[in-house]
C-alpha cells in the first residue's frame, strides 16, 4: 500500500464514519445561556463614552472636518436657495420696485412710491 492509497483509504473511511447526532437539547440550553449573557452585555453597550471619546479626539480628523464642511456647505446652500414665506416671486407690471442708490452727485428720486403707469 503506497502513501497516496493509504491517505485515500483513511480519508474515505473516516469521511463515511457515522457516530450519531448531538443531543438536540444542547442548542436550547446554549441559546438560553446566550440570551441571559447578551442581556447583561447589552447594558454595557448603552454607554456612549466610546463614541464621545472618538468624537472629541484627533482620530479620523480629516473625516470629521469633511463632515463638518459638508454640513456647513449644505446649510448655507439651503438658505440661499430657499424662498422666504410670504414673499411673492412673480412680477407685477403695475408696480415697479427700484433700488435706491446713495450718490451725492446725482439726485435720484425714490421711485418706489410712484406708480409706473403715471410715468408713461
Amino acid at each position: 500500500m503506497n502513501k497516496r492509497n493509504q491517505d485515500q483509504l483513511f480519508s474515505q473511511l473516516l469521511q463515511n464514519d457515522q457516530v450519531g447526532k448531538p443531543d438536540s437539547g444542547i442548542e436550547d440550553r446554549l441559546m438560553y445561556s446566550y440570551l441571559l449573557k447578551s442581556r447583561v452585555s447589552k447594558l454595557r453597550q448603552n454607554s456612549f463614552s466610546s463614541y464621545f471619546g472618538w468624537l472629541f479626539s484627533f482620530q479620523n480628523i480629516g473625516l470629521k472636518a469633511g463632515l463638518v464642511s459638508m454640513v456647513l456647505f449644505l446649510s448655507i446652500m439651503n438658505n440661499q436657495l430657499s424662498i422666504g414665506p410670504g414673499s411673492i416671486s412673480g412680477s407685477d407690471s403695475l408696480f415697479t420696485q427700484r433700488v435706491l442708490l446713495a450718490d451725492t452727485t446725482n439726485f435720484i428720486q425714490p421711485l418706489d412710491s410712484i406708480r409706473a403707469d403715471s410715468l408713461n
Binding site: D7, L13, K21, P22, I26, L30, S33, Y34, S38
Partner: protein, 192 residues
C-alpha cells in the same frame, strides 16, 4: 430554530463579531455549522462515548457564550475552535487518565477476528483503526482525525495542536505505518 437566518451567508469570523454584539441568530448559525463536526471529534477523542461528546460539545460552545472576545479574528475560526476542543480533550485525559480506562474497556470487548471473518464491514475497520490509534496515544489520534476526517492541511493541524509541522508529519507517518501493517491484509477485502 426561531433565530435562524434567511438569506446572506456570513463567514465564521463575521458571525463571531455578531455574537460579540449579542446577535442570537449568529450564535445559532455558528452552532449548527459546527455541532456535528465537533460532536464527532469529541466522540472519537473521548472513549467513543455519546455522553462525553455531548457534555464537551456543550462546554465548548459555553466558552463562546461566556467569552466570545477570546477569539482573535486575525486567525481562522475553525483552527481556533479545534485547538480549544483539543485542549479540552487533553485536560480531560490528564484529569481522569482516560486512556487507561479506555484500554481496559477495549480489552473487555470481544475482539474482532479479522482473519476469520468472511466479509469485513467498514465499521469494523474503523473500530480497528481506533483501537490501534489508542495504543499509539491521544496525540496520534487527534492528528489522525484532524488530517483525515476534517481534512485539514499539515500546517493547520500543527497550528491546532500547537506543534511543529515536522512533529505532525512524524505522528501521521507513524500512525499510517502501523495502521498499514494492521490493515494490509484487508485492502483486497474491503470494497470502497
Amino acid at each position: 430554530m426561531i433565530f435562524r437566518r434567511k438569506n446572506k451567508t456570513f463567514t465564521d469570523s463575521e458571525l463571531m463579531q455578531q455574537i460579540v454584539s449579542g446577535d442570537h441568530a449568529a450564535f445559532s448559525e455558528l452552532y449548527n455549522r459546527y455541532k456535528d463536526r465537533m460532536y464527532y471529534y469529541f466522540y472519537r477523542m473521548l472513549n467513543n462515548s455519546p455522553e462525553h461528546a455531548n457534555d464537551f460539545l456543550q462546554e465548548l460552545f459555553m466558552k463562546i457564550v461566556e467569552k466570545p472576545t477570546s477569539y482573535n479574528p486575525t486567525y481562522a475560526f475553525h483552527t481556533w475552535l479545534y485547538s480549544v476542543a483539543n485542549n479540552m480533550c487533553k485536560n480531560e485525559y490528564r484529569r481522569r487518565n482516560i486512556r487507561l480506562e479506555y484500554q481496559e474497556q477495549v480489552a473487555s470487548k470481544p475482539a474482532i477476528d479479522f482473519f476469520n471473518e468472511k466479509t469485513i464491514e467498514p465499521e469494523q475497520v474503523i473500530e480497528k483503526i481506533f483501537q490501534t490509534l489508542d495504543q499509539l496515544g491521544e496525540e496520534h489520534r487527534s492528528a489522525f482525525l484532524l488530517r483525515y476526517r476534517e481534512e485539514f492541511s499539515i500546517r493547520e493541524v500543527a497550528e491546532i495542536l500547537g506543534l511543529p509541522e515536522g512533529t505532525v508529519k512524524s505522528r501521521l507517518f507513524n500512525a499510517r505505518k502501523i495502521l498499514a501493517e494492521k490493515l494490509n491484509y484487508l485492502k483486497d477485502e474491503i470494497e470502497f
